[in-house]
Symmetry: C2
DNA sequence: GTCCCTGCAAATCCTTTGCACTCCT
DNA sequence: AGGAGTGCAAAGGATTTGCAGGGAC
């Protein structure tokens, strides 16, 4: 069993992630945290984020843009990724077919979880294009 | 419009990918190709793979293991990723609910495609565990 | 001859890690 | 005091890129 000790940096990372809805990367989070802790290092941000993932307090996912994104919402949900601006929007489970519907006898093994993301263009980017 | 010129290396990369069903990374492909072209460079493999993706002849996807995988099958399908051995298995669309069912009016934009992969344990790894 | 493609190596991007020091408990 | 956590900088892995030479057309 792992022994945890309090750290102001970890607390700040958790708070910062909780107050954002943009699924930041470690680096984006690092830039925010630096306003409160100018000396925090990127290594510390990565170490704490990975620790929080292990503890199940946050989740980490990739959407194909080359870096990992972090999310304070650990409930099952999906993501919509805008091809144009890169924005990632949460999609509640209710928007998609019931999870259990995915699993059939044809599955070549036992699937516990699945990761899903949609690619497309968000409403904001679509409107910008119409104007020009 | 882009002008293409024949290259034996690109041809070999296409053939190699066509004959494999394991969704190799650029590096794995590089190791195979080197048997035929001992002097080929990894940079050439990456350049050609990205070119083929642009041309729509192959697809590229991430499954969260830190590197990109390439697939000669461009038809819509899904992937099953074994947590234990890392194997990636193709899942035909028929196994999963109709694609159009994913898209509803609630979608915060227009989704053209989606990427889906399941995590779990493949039958082979499950059997190995039972034996020990 | 032109210009695309190659091999090579250096560069870049993202993430992890080793180490000496700091701060919880 | 003991050990988890930190900052820093170096290392690591994956991918891209600049450049000079080679090959397709």
């Amino acid at each position: 069993m792992r022994t945890l000790k309090y750290s102001r940096q970890r607390e700040s990372i958790k708070n910062c992630l909780m107050n954002r809805t943009d699924h930041p990367t470690a680096d984006a989070l690092y830039l925010s945290i630096r306003e409160e802790f100018p000396n925090i290092s990127l290594g510390t941000v990565y170490r704490n984020l990975n620790l929080l993932v292990e503890l199940g307090e946050i989740i980490k996912f990739t959407c194909g843009d080359g870096s990992e994104h972090f999310d304070f919402t650990t409930d099952q949900h999906y993501h919509f990724v805008c091809r144009t601006c890169g924005k990632i929007i949460d999609l509640p489970v209710s928007m998609v077919r019931s999870t259990s519907d995915f699993f059939t006898e044809e599955m070549p093994g036992h699937a516990e979880t699945h990761a899903l993301f949609f690619y497309g263009e968000c409403n904001h980017c679509m409107e910008s294009k119409l104007e020009s």
